[in-house]
Symmetry: C2
Subunit: 153 residues, 2 copies
């Protein structure tokens, strides 16, 4: 992604679904941000791990809660969490309220990653605002919020 | 999601990242479409399986290719594919060009699902166009394509 002046807006392929049009820039944005993060000290983290960092609570979250929030099976979430624990981003301990359940918590390294991810995401959006123009980004934000609201009804 | 006349556009929370604003309506759209599909004869399929249906080729795809395209580990993709094979949506056979590799192919039921998913997605977008107005959806499509293009550079 390079910063440059406002570009002419291209005509999207009408045959493409709105779902694909929403997904593609999100996937690209994520790939860009995780590329920046890999180059700045977090090479182990892939976009697939974002569901853990997005949903985990400051006091820690139960594995089954993380799985539910991510719409994943408990096994799939356990696999992501194990990987992050091995690489020092989360700790996994028995839940204090339920010894059979597991509680997942960010380590200091995990907190560092979250802060870096927020900063990289903000920087990408700023570069995008330069490329497309601030008013286009504002229009996009407004339209996305409206779509989200309409779908929530 | 209910169809209704054009709504007033709400002010999005400025503190929210563009990534989150792109992801949320996509996730909601996906949840809506998969809800419709579950009610119309495909209750086993969850949004997590969409990465298989999205990337699989008519002649079949190798497991490792599907994993690469989805940005997942081979094990995670194998778990999704096994589930879909058990429920009759894909078949898994040795690759004719490489006996050690596996080739994944849609079954007739898998093809029926893909056709139903495309139709449900189109119906959701039509309902959304009624709720927000056609010109808002056109603006959104144009802006999303521009963001995608800017990020691809």
């Amino acid at each position: 992604m390079k910063a440059k002046g406002p570009t002419s807006l291209t005509a999207p392929d009408r045959a493409e679904s709105l779902g694909a049009l929403l997904r593609r820039p999100y996937t690209r944005l994520q790939a860009h941000v995780y590329g920046v993060l890999a180059a700045s000290g977090f090479p182990e983290i892939r976009p697939a791990h974002s569901v853990v960092f997005r949903h985990i609570l400051p006091e820690g979250s139960r594995l089954v809660e993380l799985a539910d929030l991510a719409g994943m099976t408990k096994q799939s979430m356990a696999s992501l969490v194990d990987y992050l624990a091995i690489h020092g981003y989360v700790s996994v301990e028995p839940d204090p309220h339920d010894g059979r359940a597991k509680r997942v918590k960010l380590t200091t390294q995990g907190e560092r990653f979250v802060a870096a991810a927020l900063a990289a995401s903000k920087a990408a959006e700023d570069t995008l605002a330069v490329a497309l123009g601030r008013s286009a980004i504002q229009d996009l934000r407004r339209l996305l919020a409206s779509v989200d609201l309409a779908l929530a009804e």
